[in-house]
Symmetry: none
Subunit: 190 residues, 4 copies
DNA sequence: AATGAATGAGTATTCATTCAT
DNA sequence: TATGAATGAATACTCATTCAT
């Protein structure tokens, strides 16, 4: 008698006390944006992804726009970190060029989810000033990273080239080969 | 006796027989997309923009997706026409380079509405196969236009460069100057 | 075979085509306001009272405020009609006094629902300018009706007296008797 | 070593031990009711007005209705006190009449916020028996105050007249002048 | 004793689409 | 052929109240 084999915490209705939930919700929002786009990102969808009751969303965020802003900020920051790392590891112009090529091929084209996020952000930013700031900061950080190894003019031009190459590669049914990527970058930087 | 002197056609809502209405609806859809984004494009909004009853929308189009597809197709086609014209007017490599510069500076950066439409299309295409075809065709036409003057590899690379330059220019609060655009293009093509 | 005994129109899901529905919705709104107060008047409640789907509400009215405004306008107009009739039927000062007494006793105190509506309107008008106009018009009409038989100063004072008598009578657990009403009015008007 | 130089009480949210908080909450509720109406009076709004955490509301009151009841009780009591004072200061019928006039002109019409509170209470009382008692007590006290100088019948009638005059004056865009108020009261009481 | 977090029921409103006329 | 009316599912957001800490 007594001794239930099911612990309360395994039952449906015991979820109270969940520190870090706000954080998890932001991650869930990123998942949903990537999967369904900003247009398909709703309170409900995010709550479902995080396995959290709907009311929790509006408790933690004043509006859906706030969720989007936080999510994109986090994404942009993570993306910029990768940029920083790759270029921070380079020691001279030659290794920097290799870093750019690797960045495009492995990190950017390799994860089309990231491109989707970028384009979603651009569209959202077109109508939401708060997101414009996120875009700006992101662009600034990648340019700064490039300026460690290239002069400002070159940095800016390469930054644009990278964006164009990734965009066309991911959108195309016939994406550029690694060699083509290398060719494009070297033509510009050597 | 008692024949009415007012003909029905003088009364409020008489627009029957309106050939070209479908056409006007597509144009109205383009306006709405540019102004409010795909996410804000609804039957109601388009009908209002075209000053047409709501029921007319679903009479002329099977679904909202059909409207979007037609609208984007029309937009892409018009954009590609500009590309064709500029490059078709060039007679040699030098004038072609000038055409590319002019295209970026005047036609693309000059009308940020077009960039908005392009990004809206990319996002929409990410979740709608029908729109992917539109994107493909558009990219193909611009590449073809470039191949009139440059080898395929160069054409492809320049196409991407153009996209990146325009995107970064329009999104930035500190857009590239005409000289910077010229510098970037010439560095690549000369 | 054939010959169903149940006509389609008796089944749940055949409600299409219901001219005058907007009208019925306004009446339903009045019922709900009387029964549950403005605070308890929701789209859902009105739709339920009119046995109409929820979506129908926002099809016919741009907002809940619009519904309230239309409902109160209708109510005020009907109430003013009664006022007009009673006083219109009076032929001299004496019969006018009788009309006022009858009005208070039978029409106003007799239907406490009307007092509720009036107070609800006052409260709602305190925060909704559109409703303030309704209140004004209502007060004006009753004063006009009184001025048929009394000078403007008297009309205004009696109008206020009526309001006070009705209010206190209805709110009190020990309402005024018909004789007390007569006494109060005659003291003032004779 | 390492003793903190910052005392807890200097940090962000330290309000523990706050006797009289319940009291301040009731006052805050009155402010909110006056400003946003009963319909706009929520736990959150009151807590914000009193600069107190949300949880504190349900700690001190079992329900929102309890808050409303306490708030209206306090308001009615204060309003009745004014009534008492004015009429208590009168020494004979003549000064009592002056007191009534002054009451209407200065205390009641002068602060439309009080009328708003009264009407809010009437509406709330219509659906909440607990509040009905508050209304009753308030009406009784004002009638008692009048009975110090006038016979019961007159007291009751004047009480109603006062209510009607104030109501119409405050609601009207063309409020009664001090002379009109005097005229109405004297006509009745002299 | 006091409170921040949590939640589920409810709110107004939007909208693609269907349908009767 | 054309359209106004109709509708149900979905959306963002609010809030009284409960509860773990």
């Amino acid at each position: 008698m007594m001794c239930t084999l099911v612990r309360m915490s395994d039952l449906k209705r015991t979820r109270r006390h969940d520190p870090g939930r706000r954080d998890r919700l932001i991650d869930a929002a990123l998942e949903v944006i990537a999967e369904r786009g900003v247009a398909g990102t709703t309170h409900r969808e995010i709550a479902r992804a995080a396995d959290v009751p709907l009311g929790s969303m509006t408790y933690h965020f004043a509006s859906l726009d706030e969720v989007l802003a936080e999510a994109f900020t986090r994404h942009a920051s993570a993306a910029a970190d990768v940029f920083d790392e790759r270029l921070g590891a380079a020691t001279d112009r030659d290794t920097a060029i290799e870093a750019v090529i690797q960045l495009i091929r492995d990190d950017l084209i390799g994860s089309p989810k990231d491109l989707v996020m970028a384009v979603e952000l651009y569209v959202a930013a077109a109508r939401n000033p708060a997101l414009r700031a996120v875009t700006q900061a992101w662009m600034q950080r990648s340019r700064d990273a490039l300026e460690r190894h290239f002069d400002p003019t070159t940095a800016r031009e390469v930054d644009a080239l990278i964006e164009g190459l990734v965009l066309h590669s991911v959108l195309s049914t016939d994406p550029m080969t690694p060699e083509q990527i290398r060719h494009a970058v070297e033509r510009y930087l050597r």
